[in-house]
Subunit: 255 residues, 6 copies
């Protein structure tokens, strides 16, 4: 279990849940801005997991992950699983204009080229994105974690990702016109671009903003309305089952 620089707190929490040590990684940046990543523990014939959500700065974290994958493969890992709780390029999933790349497919191919033998991810923007990968993918969702938080009496707005918050604010405006006075907001990936969290929290009808920690979220104190639910236990359990060859779909009550 190694962690890239994108979200070491999540990696530490997953390792704690598994009772496994988080192995050290050394990231070096050369004068010409190229990166070098060293996995600082023997990988030979091990079942290696590399934890790196594609949180901003996305391009830095992506290239760092590609270097880690290649290093693990070259170091004779038995299997390398890229654990990408937030697969940001999933939103780039179709040709809405001519002569663009379908980034979600391209990045999937890059990960395989670099050495990923499998991928573990959460709440892809569209479930079709699963089909962009040529290696096995375990695709978790955080519905149980999010649902467990609410009473069933709340009016909840659910989205996969909140970045600027524009869509959410507009939706609450519409709900207000219909007389709604209390809304709770839930999302898996709480990206929250600068200022957006305060902006949403300032809407009086918004009672609570709930997200998970697939990407680093602002520290407590930004707004008392924010609740962060950890998906580390779910990821840890999935990693345990992947390692021991147990069913992951059974986690969701599927057969």
């Amino acid at each position: 279990m190694f962690s890239g620089s994108a979200h070491p707190e999540l990696a530490a929490e997953i390792c704690a849940a598994l009772g496994e040590p988080l192995l050290p990684v050394r990231l070096r940046r050369f004068a010409n801005d190229c990166l070098e990543v060293q996995l600082q523990s023997n990988c030979r014939e091990r079942d290696v997991f590399l934890i790196q959500p594609l949180a901003p700065p996305v391009q830095e974290h992506l290239v760092e992950l590609l270097l880690m994958l290649d290093a693990a493969r070259g170091a004779s890992a038995a299997r390398v699983t890229a654990v990408i709780p937030h697969y940001a390029y999933a939103r780039s999933d179709k040709k809405h204009m001519p002569r663009i790349s379908i980034g979600g497919r391209l990045v999937a191919d890059l990960l395989v080229t670099a050495g990923a033998s499998r991928v573990l991810t959460m709440t892809l923007h569209n479930s079709q994105v699963h089909g962009f990968f040529s290696v096995p993918v375990d695709h978790l969702h955080a519905l149980r974690e999010l649902a467990g938080h609410f009473s069933g009496q709340d009016l909840i707005v659910l989205d996969d990702e909140i970045a600027r918050g524009t869509t959410i604010i507009e939706l609450v405006d519409r709900l207000r016109e219909h007389g709604v006075t209390s809304v709770r907001i839930a999302c898996t990936h709480g990206l929250f671009a600068a200022g957006s969290l305060e902006w949403i929290a300032a809407v009086p009808e918004v009672q609570e903003i709930v997200c998970t920690n697939t990407v680093p979220v602002p520290s407590a104190g930004v707004t008392p309305k924010l609740t962060v639910i950890s998906i580390a236990p779910a990821l840890a359990e999935a990693i345990r089952r992947i390692h021991w060859g147990e069913s992951v779909s059974a986690l969701f009550g599927q057969h």
Copy 2:
């Protein structure tokens, strides 16, 4: 001929030398920091050249180039040549420590995965890096351009790349101890990290610093000692020959 955002001035100069238009590219950054690149001119059955040195920020420019390559391939280009005047990851060419990636090989594989059918580059750090590519590579050097600049009477320090300048300064210190009072410095890739150009220029023995424009260089005025030689004519001639199927090695007097 399209240009990424790394060095549009060089691309414009190459196009001018060829009498070809520089076609527009639209770069868009989403709220979640993912990139989208649109080639804004028909590529179908064209011989497409994409100009992008891996200048800092390297990771941004690399992912942007990968997206451009995939877009060109998906848009049915007849052939896609990645023109990478400065292939920064060439310095990552061996396993000097265990469990690192040989980045020069990894990035070569990523470029091919993304759609590069060939590569045009300049002055690789080691000529062995040519062998990292599985597609044809045209590997130019700027020796004629640099040599043409000097009298033959100068004491010249030649390197492929100057970033921090530490090595150069130390070398001039050694030369000074041997009584050398005048040195001219030449390199292909003038990266010049912040402050380094002024630092080198401040050494009294340094008469002139000569580099080419494979990467963007500080604008005139930073130091009167800096001379920038354009490699646009050499790249333009190589591109012309690649397109028309003429010998590129003949450019260097080889047969």
Copy 3:
């Protein structure tokens, strides 16, 4: 231009629009039920187009197409485009249950393995399916053809494909409860399983059923309510542009 056995009428119409001959294909079934396909005209260095929608019996038509692709590649075609007006496996686009194949991705990979250098298709069930292919795809839609047929005053129910018709009938039931008395139905792929066309036509509110000929449709006379619009002109124009390297997206007013 060769046609598989799935829809020779459409192929003939496309060829007529292009003023090109439809070249003969010989399909042979051995005693052990294996198929053999012979392209009966020289393919060497030609720009070959193979027309075969995945209409029922889908498995027969798919294997026949794979054999045609391999034959064209082995016969030294310069390029082989699979023209698949109806890509039936596009509906198999996600893992809605564990341990199933994402058929849309698998069939895309099979087509490439068999020799497809590119694909021309219409109205995929989800636009994400485009990203399942590792070769360039031209993805047309029939919106202009369908839209041109209606007044603007009609209540139109639009779907990509009608097979059993259950969804449509249920929708009309709902509309009737809201007092709607006149509905026109439009879809791209008119599969119409046995009896379904009569069943839909028997609904009094249904004024007209409009589909295109991406798959063979029942001959005139089954019901006077059926209108079939030909997409042969659109496909012919796309094939012409693909062959001559002109923009296909410009067909849709895109740049």
Copy 4:
């Protein structure tokens, strides 16, 4: 151990010989004639065997097998062996005419694309077909099973496959002219197209028709001259050895 729909009886017999359960598979056909296959038991890190001879309808069984392979790979099977007792496309092994596919090679490539890590088959039409596969193949034959059945005093006509029976009948005609009054017929793959079994059995000189159960054979009663020898014990033993890493060639007295 999962079985496709082509020959569940053989799969059940193999499982019984191994003392392993035959795991359930759900085959679903959509309204548009596409197939969906679900392996209904956890495959993660298992050594999965999929049993499916290419018996008629060959195309249906082939696509079903490809979907099963992809499902097993996507479900993280440790290894997937396609057990294809009758590889019908082996007869398509050369270009006897221009512009046909060598179907035996194409289908081999499709199986690998879909996820087969190895293949177990019986009595290929030509042993050269082994070389069409890019993954390890275990190629059994039924000679011991067939030979054990005869006295050594019989005049036996041996073929790999009987479909229409035309060749056999002609051969018996020739033998009759030379005074032969008693012939026994043996083959591995008893395909027996409609009516052919009765036709052969009606020849007075034919004393017995012996085949194995690589493909489903007519139930007892069609003709008392038919004897079916099970190859399930041989396949079971080969599967056991493949799973446990023991020599399969030793089964045939090879070293």
Copy 5:
């Protein structure tokens, strides 16, 4: 058109028939016995043909051909055709023992890895070997050339290849027992291991030994019974048709 060192006379004859120059190749052997091959003429965007039968020493000629293929691809050839009049490894076409390589398939894969975009060969030992290649193959035979040589009244023994001659001598022994007093021997590939030609010629019943020049044959004078028919015109015509995209199968009266 370049020639390896295996059979420059044949290459020269083919070039003469085409009116094309035979371009120079420089073969260098280093002190450590490694080979280096330089194609000494510009290949860029050319349709390159490399002529090299796998005549003894086979391993030397094979590696030399692989180096030529890689050099041509790296030098940006538009297409590289390996012209291998004698594909010696075709005899290694099945697993007649466990744990051997099917050499005919392995060498086919090596040629493709090294850069062959297509293959032109003559009289493969088994026509199934065609299916070992993943690139288009043009498979000629010399039947017309050989047949044109005989009266129709001769007793001819035809084989694809004669190396030691043991089989031929044994066959003539059998024929002698049946009273045959005159035999003519024909083969495509006249390998003739040391002494074998004299040995066969010494058999009184052998009137003539006819072979083609797919491999270098002993110079005139070894035995007056030897006739060598050139296949250079047939190869030249095939190369001409491949280059210009005309049907090669039409050469044999096929459609």
Copy 6:
């Protein structure tokens, strides 16, 4: 553990160090000079090591190794490691002339095509050559073995490989001019072309010539100045660690 024909003594010594039997390999040469290699012991699910330095005749030994790799893969080996103590083509590492192959990269690709899942080698000519391989490489050096032999007081000339010896002799000439009267020579790969060993030994200043046994060296007696140090213990230890998944870099004091 199997050995090719290049250096069976080294293989025997490695096996002795490991306490493992050296398994038999049968090499057969056909009349047409093609090779056939049979691994004469079960490989199924085994961790197979094939020992073959690329010593002269290099092309014979290379093709033999490729055949062994393919045989092991086809025989269902769990993993196949090519143990190549001397990778002769490492010297072909750049395009020093146009239109040559970078042989070190080509041969790396051929080994992977033939079935190598990993490579174990010693003292590559340039460490960049490591990056030519797309599979994991363990790259040992013999510095400890060589260093342990000398007092620290000697003037040692160290090279990776001595073939003709010309460079060494010239260097000693230069040293003599500077008054050096005693030199010891050390190299990893002692190729020693015919006569070169005697030639070097005849130089009076040369006190000792030390090499390892990565390639077969002349038997004792050629010159008393020759000392051969065995690298079998180092290779044996590396093989043991590779098999059991222990760190190989730790062998060199790296972490």
